[in-house]
Amino acid sequence: MMQMADILKVFKEYRGDAIVVPGKGARYWGDMTTRPELDVALMPTAMGGRAAFAFGLALAQPHRKVVLFDSEGDMMMGLNILPTIAEHAPENFYHFLLDNECYATTGGQPVPNAGKIAYDVVARGAGYARTFSYDNLESFQINLERIMSGPGPVFVALKIVPEIENEPVGRRKRFSTRSREQVRQDLWKALGIAGCNQ
């Protein structure tokens, strides 16, 4: 098991100019990032669509890496996007899954068949060409350069320690400092597509 913050700390050395969809990692990523204009932290939106959203970004920006930090509860709600991603096989898409085996934001109840699902095997079965699975930071760290220097779509399942929240939703700290509209505007400006669709 790894700490989410440690994973992100290791990853940030390989970020380059990639677009990052940090997902639940936004709670730490905001203090680590050096390219906030390329970060797309949109929570909350609608559960189950994060992988599809990042995939859409990857299709739209094929010459720039798109890195997603997904979570297993969200992915399982939209698992059927995996064959669509595999069909289009965006070479710029890097799909990391933070698997804490539970619904941490609702108090830590286990996800269905918690701890017994090989998500990397699910992704491979759906058609991802490169899949990996790590449960310790050292192995992840050793292999990350190889993962990031190879083509996507790549899927990396990572076992993490749950960070369970029991506070009522209204009292929880919000990790996003920008509105969703601001996130989009910053991204468009950084990508040179300001004015598009308006």
Partner: protein, 173 residues
Amino acid sequence: MVQAAEALLNPEIVLAELKKNAVSHVVWLPDSETNWLYLLIKAEPSLTLVTVSREGLAFSTAAGLYFGGKTPVILIQNTGLMESGDSLRGWGLGLNMPVVLMVGYRGWTRHGVTIDTAAVYVERFLNAFGISYYLVENNHDAPRISLAFEEARKTQRPVTVLVGDEYHGFHPH
């Protein structure tokens, strides 16, 4: 015969509307009302077809495309639209996405004797979410598709085109 031909919605005309509005990606789940569009879209080099296997994922996929600077259109059936309620809320309305939803109006009969509950509830569903919609039944209605795109751009919200063709679907020449 003339009347019958005029009652049809020709897929080439629909495709021309999509191209006129600079659509880049068609995010689609096949349905019986829009199936004839498939071959045309596949053959059109300016469009990329993205097939999903559950309609809610069309909204999040389209949102990613939109954030990446593209112009997607969502092509699904009314049954799938109703399945997609929270995705429409969170990804469509929540992100101010100016996307046009072309929705196959399964069960639409015009005469008001509607048996299929997919047709009974779809306009009520759209009204509940405050989503504008235009009904397109034949070639003469096709310019309404551009009206939907204009409204989506102006309001920065999803707008729907209901494709009501009495189970016939799009018709080739």
